[in-house]
């Protein structure tokens, strides 16, 4: 709901995402901050931020697939891996430029995801989750055995370059990722507020009624997987250019579960929620990675492995806590708080 005194006077204004002058101002300031950040923070934080941008694309894809269309997907990291490997192999083998390999990586992942989307047509819920885990093993097995991806050696690729200018510095990579993430996130907002987004939610809420409304349920589910995997593939291709070395163990089931955690913490069915989830989970991970070694140096008897295992225990705890106390995520809570603030002092 809008603040008191703000009324839409046209259908366009009523459908707008940014509705008040203050919201425009906040968005502009946030954009300025994102542009200025590389000059304000050190290289380590900048690298973390770039990883957040890459994860944001993947998580937004998962949000569309799982949050909007309700198709549980535990193979998002595999889809990301397909994008990373295809982009990496095309760049290393054929020396294609990044503005071709990144979309092609996305398309390859979309094709892979579409195949699994077709299985979602017949199975739901728990069984679908198991099927998408199969995507994870299939990815692992194919990459190691197909001839084009360097087997267990992985793929090493040259930095992206644009008009002879090499995008290898931390800052240039950050700006490349920022641009791509902005485009993908804006696109996601466009998809979910249009007819396709409504069809996704309709299929999630009540697929029988959705079919009776003329929505092709089969095609809608497969499309959701296709879009989710495309986003993962784009994220994977960005990842390939960021680390310039692609290996299978960067895309395990664990990574898929981290992505699910991001969507749950941020809030199912909200693009902004996915972004917030990425920020929180990644920040948490990095805190563990940073604090862990110093903790071990204080108490050496703990051993180095403790960091990784504590992180996973904590992840499980966070997901469980959210599912119990805030199953609809932070965005839902935020919306409730915003509404009661605007209603105050009236209860409704």
């Amino acid at each position: 709901m809008d603040p008191a005194g703000v009324f839409a006077t046209s259908f366009e204004a009523d459908a707008a995402l940014i509705r008040t002058r203050k919201q425009w101002l906040a968005l502009a300031l946030f954009a300025l901050l994102l542009i200025a950040l590389p000059w304000l923070i050190g290289p380590r934080l900048l690298a973390i931020l770039t990883v957040m941008l890459i994860s944001a694309v993947v998580a937004v894809g998962l949000q569309i697939n799982t949050g909007y269309a309700g198709q549980i997907n535990l193979g998002q990291a595999a889809f990301m891996g397909v994008g990373a490997y295809v982009a990496g192999a095309l760049a290393a083998g054929w020396a294609l430029p990044f503005w071709l390999t990144i979309p092609l990586g996305g398309l390859a992942a979309a094709a892979f995801g579409f195949a699994f989307g077709l299985s979602a047509v017949r199975i739901k819920g728990f069984y679908l989750a198991l099927t998408t885990i199969a995507a994870q093993s299939l990815f692992h097995f194919s990459i190691l055995n197909l001839p084009w991806f360097g087997g267990s050696n992985g793929v090493t690729l040259a930095p992206a370059s644009l008009f002879g200018f090499e995008l290898s510095s931390d800052r240039s990579l950050y700006y490349l990722c920022l641009t791509l993430t902005t485009v993908m996130v804006c696109g996601a907002f466009g998809i979910v507020r249009g007819r396709h987004g409504r069809a996704f939610i309709a299929v999630r809420d009540d697929d029988v009624a959705a079919g009776m409304m003329g929505i092709n349920v089969v095609r809608t589910k497969a499309t959701a997987f296709l879009i989710g995997a495309f986003y993962a593939g784009i994220g994977g291709a960005m990842w390939a250019y960021f680390v310039r070395f692609v290996a299978v163990d960067q895309f395990t089931l664990f990574h898929s579960i981290w992505f699910i955690a991001m969507v749950i913490v941020g809030g199912m069915g909200s693009i902004t929620g996915a972004l917030i989830g990425v920020f929180i989970i990644k920040a948490m991970q990095e805190t563990f990675v940073t604090l862990g070694p110093s903790l071990v140096s204080y108490i050496p008897s703990l051993g180095g492995d403790i960091v990784y295992s504590v992180m996973n225990v904590f992840l499980g705890g966070v997901i469980a806590a959210f599912l119990i106390f805030e199953p609809r995520g932070l965005m839902h809570r935020w919306n409730i708080m915003k509404q009661s603030y605007r209603m105050w002092p009236f209860p409704y």
Binding site: A15, G187, G194
Partner: protein, 269 residues
């Protein structure tokens, strides 16, 4: 009250809106529909009644494409629809409202109605991705249609409320609005009055008549509430144990011995 009382003459050149011929549907040994034949003419409000388990909802599900009859065929505006999938039938112009509530709970009222516009919208994923331009203009165009329906059903004040937070009567109204947004050539309503209080029933009956007047489409009503059926329907089909036992005007049905037997049993047992 009504716009056009259908003519019974043989010379009527207008195709019937829907013809179902010899429908047969059985689940294992249970025969849900046994050689049921119905015909819905243009602009007609037809009620289908019958005791519990008579096969009314099975018939609806066959017409909507949710079940496939084992025998018989369904002609919709002259086109054979037998065995087509439900979304294909919906795109051909058949809309239905559901028994209970099947409105999408997490979407707002306006979004629910916009889902009904889905089949009339054409923007591709890529156009939606870009949003600005074609997709946005299309949204606005269809939003205008949706707003007309909201006005017709008098739900302006709740248009942005999620349907999950609304009461039962309002949800049923949204369900009707969503079906109207499809601009159907025929509207099927499966027990619209079930579970409503008298006031809500009166409201909904008024909206059904409003819809009939505004759209001039044939409406098929499956209903248990005899008061509503007798007041609204032009013609009534009666089913019992999957068989069609009578059809005719409300006053004729009320006096039909076969119908009385089905509902009340035989005298002198």
């Amino acid at each position: 009250m009504t716009t056009a009382i259908p003519t019974q003459s043989k010379a009527d050149a207008v195709l019937p809106a829907l013809v179902a011929e010899g429908l047969h549907l059985s689940f294992g040994g249970i025969v849900a529909l046994n050689n049921v034949t119905i015909e819905i003419r243009q602009n007609e409000l037809v009620a289908i009644i019958g005791p519990n388990g008579a096969g009314k909802t099975s018939l609806m599900n066959c017409l909507g494409g949710f079940y496939r009859p084992q025998r018989g065929r369904i002609l919709f505006c002259g086109e054979d629809m037998t065995g087509r999938r439900e979304d294909a039938i919906a795109r051909a112009g058949l809309a239905r409202t559901f028994q209970g509530t099947h409105a999408f709970p997490s979407l707002s009222v306006i979004e629910n109605i916009m889902v009904g516009r889905h089949i009339h919208m054409h923007s591709s994923i890529l156009q939606s991705f870009l949003h600005v331009g074609w997709a946005e203009r299309e949204e606005t165009r269809h939003r205008e249609v949706a707003e007309e329906i909201i006005e017709l059903l008098e739900i302006e004040s709740i248009r942005h409320r999620p349907v999950g937070t609304l009461g039962y009567g309002l949800r049923k109204r949204v369900d009707l609005g969503r079906a109207l947004a499809q601009e159907p050539k025929l509207l099927l309503m499966d027990e619209p009055m079930a579970g409503m209080n008298t006031e809500e029933k009166e409201d909904l009956a008024r909206f059904i008549l409003d819809v009939r007047e505004a759209r001039g489409i044939p409406i098929v009503l499956v209903e248990h509430d005899m008061g509503v059926v007798m007041d609204l329907a032009d013609r009534i089909y009666v089913l019992d144990f999957g068989k069609q036992i009578a059809d005719g005007s409300p006053s004729a049905i009320q006096r039909n011995p076969a119908v009385l037997k089905a509902y009340l049993g035989e005298r002198g047992i």
